[in-house]
């Protein structure tokens, strides 16, 4: 072994140096997170007011006059909730099928591969795809179109999150149920889905967090409006786009509100992310390991 012929002082010096730069890199990344949060809070907090979150934009809002972004908050909550609910309907059966029927077979491998590939498709491409669908069906930008595209974006994330949790379920549990004469469906619905509960809640919150923050796809499909959306077929505002459009404004007052909108969005996303850790830690107590 050539590397052992180095003098020990030098080897230990290199060791200490590498360890040092590893720690520095870790501090850098943690510092980046701190810096992002700090900047959003410092810029957003002064502009945040009660009227920001309780009013819709009034006349001249985009020139710095009165109003708020309630339209965007409500729109984003509708979009993310709808998208997550729609993605749930499909992701739970897929995760159950992967576990109970496919397992670690070649087919299961292909399905997981395609889910991972779907996960990697950027939201701008989903947005463009949604746009082609809307042209094909003669639809206009609407809440419904936004929900459908967000559901497509969230589907692979949610399915893989459930799949990762349920893969750790002991095989004995499944075998015990099968040995007692249950069909695979009964195993799926009575045994696997209960063990999957922490996975499902994590998936819901992960999907919701991803959906509420996505801008590029709703840009094409959900449009933007100053009114609070009342129908699935109407366009709707969303928080990421509210941040984006207001920061593009030449008026400093409007820009400040853009920062406030970014703060609101960040708070929602962080609450969802921390909440998912907390809930899954609590629910994990009730699963069999």
């Amino acid at each position: 072994m050539k590397f052992l012929k180095q003098p020990w002082q030098r080897r230990h010096l290199v060791e200490a140096f590498m360890k040092f730069i590893m720690r520095v890199s870790l501090v850098f990344v943690a510092g980046a997170l701190g810096l992002i949060l700090w900047i959003v809070v410092v810029r957003g907090l002064p502009a945040l007011s009660w009227s920001m979150i309780t009013q819709i934009p009034k006349g001249g809002y985009y020139m710095g006059k009165e109003g708020g972004i309630l339209n965007a908050i409500i729109g984003s909550l509708y979009l993310a909730t709808g998208g997550t609910a729609l993605a749930m309907i499909f992701s739970i059966p897929i995760a159950l099928y992967l576990k109970t029927y496919l397992g670690d077979s070649q087919w299961g491998h292909y399905v997981r591969l395609s889910l991972d590939v779907l996960w990697g498709i950027p939201s701008i491409v989903y947005g463009a795809f949604g746009f082609t669908l809307m042209i094909a069906f003669g639809l206009r930008a609407s809440l419904l179109a936004g929900i459908i595209i967000l559901a497509l974006i969230e589907l692979p994330i949610m399915t893989r999150a459930m799949d990762e949790v349920i893969r750790r379920m002991p095989v004995d549990l499944e075998h015990a149920a099968l040995a007692l004469g249950s069909t695979k469906l009964e195993v799926a619905l009575r045994v696997v889905i209960r063990q999957m509960l922490p996975g499902i809640t994590t998936a819901i919150l992960l999907g919701f967090g991803r959906g509420i923050g996505d801008a590029a796809s709703v840009l094409f499909t959900a449009g933007y409006t100053d009114r609070i959306v009342t129908s699935l077929m109407r366009p709707t505002a969303s928080l990421p786009l509210a941040v984006f459009f207001q920061l593009g404004s030449p008026y400093p007052e409007v820009q400040r509100r853009g920062y406030a909108a970014a703060l609101i969005l960040t708070i929602i996303v962080l609450a969802v992310s921390l909440g998912s850790r907390w809930i899954s830690a609590r629910l994990n107590k009730y699963t069999i390991k």
Partner: protein
């Protein structure tokens, strides 16, 4: 033994007749199971086919422009004037490449070091503290990264990095400061590097965990230091996985839209320096969706830009995920 062969009940004889002996009425539970299996299977096909459907839809919509112009003119044409019927993607493609390359080059060394630290050195407490940090970084929406880039990174590039580079690296053309605004490839690259870091680190960490402990113990037993073990024994083992993780990160960087759009400057030119502003493909699509339908072939051109992006990302993605999944399964 002899008893069982003698006492063949009529039922047992019936059973040897094969498929005809099955009960003619399927029990309802089994029937429901069959229905469920088929419907679950149908739902499961959705993600498998979705990739194909997205690709085909974009191919159909971009067909008119692919028919009207040779592919060479689209990919290598320098001029983008949709109103004059000129659709040259070259500056946008090059810009996408530059921004991604800078982001990946900045992220890769730090990500390798951090994942080595977390996998090989760190205390369990450090590890469990790092996990939520990476999760939060991954959860922050792109538009908030854009805000951060706009408020912190663009002035940092403008006030700190650009003067430094002017002073020390002015003779190197890729570091020359031609248009000092702060907006540009470097700012976008820094933002992208932080955005893709959580993904790269978590994949690399899993890859390191696949190396059997025996290898570590053997190297340490003959007197190697920890770093020597990592460099000479572990890194060669996981090299394909490391490369795959970086490629996966690159595929995320390629498609990132809003955050990049906010800091990259959006000037359609072929960049020569990392301080130049640029105009990547996703930004082009997002900025022009509004007047897509007003000029002939414009929508087709923008959707073909999305198609180019999709094809490159699919190739990167599939290659890296196949390598990563294989390494994780070999564990």
């Amino acid at each position: 033994m002899s008893q069982s062969s003698q006492t063949k009940t009529p039922q047992a004889i019936q059973n040897t007749e094969g498929r005809f002996s099955r009960p003619s009425v399927i029990p309802p539970r089994a029937r429901i199971d069959g229905i469920a299996r088929r419907s679950f299977f149908t739902i499961m096909l959705l993600p498998v086919f979705l990739i194909a459907v997205v690709t085909i839809a974009l191919v159909i919509r971009s067909w008119p422009i692919l028919q009207a112009y040779p592919l060479k003119d689209l990919l290598f044409g320098n001029i983008w004037r949709p109103d004059k019927g000129l659709f040259g993607f070259y500056p946008y493609i090059i810009a996408t490449f530059w921004v991604t390359a800078v982001g990946v080059l900045l992220a890769t060394p730090a990500c390798i070091l951090i994942s080595i630290y977390l996998a090989e050195y760190a205390h369990a407490r450090t590890r469990s503290a790092a996990k939520p940090i990476l999760d939060l970084l991954a959860a922050i929406p792109p538009v908030v990264y854009g805000v951060w880039g706009l408020v912190a990174i663009v002035p940092f590039v403008d006030k700190v990095l650009a003067p430094l580079s002017e002073r020390w690296l002015d003779s190197v053309s890729i570091f020359r400061v031609n248009q000092p605004t702060g907006f540009g490839i470097l700012a976008a690259g820094i933002v992208l590097a932080v955005m893709i870091a959580p993904l790269i680190i978590s994949v690399m960490y899993e890859i390191f965990a696949t190396v059997p402990n025996d290898l570590r113990h053997a190297a340490l037993a003959i007197g190697a230091t920890k770093w020597q073990t990592i460099r000479s024994i572990i890194l060669p083992q996981v090299a394909p996985g490391i490369v795959a993780a970086v490629v996966l990160g690159a595929s995320r960087a390629l498609g990132e839209t809003i955050a990049v759009l906010m800091v990259v400057g959006n000037v359609a030119q072929t960049p020569t320096s990392i301080f130049d502003p640029a105009y990547p493909l996703p930004a082009l699509i997002a900025n022009n969706y509004g007047d897509m339908m007003s000029i002939p072939l414009y929508d087709s051109a923008l959707l073909s830009a999305a198609l180019i992006l999709l094809i490159v990302i699919l190739i990167f993605n599939i290659l890296s995920i196949v390598v990563i999944q294989r390494m994780l399964r070999l564990k």
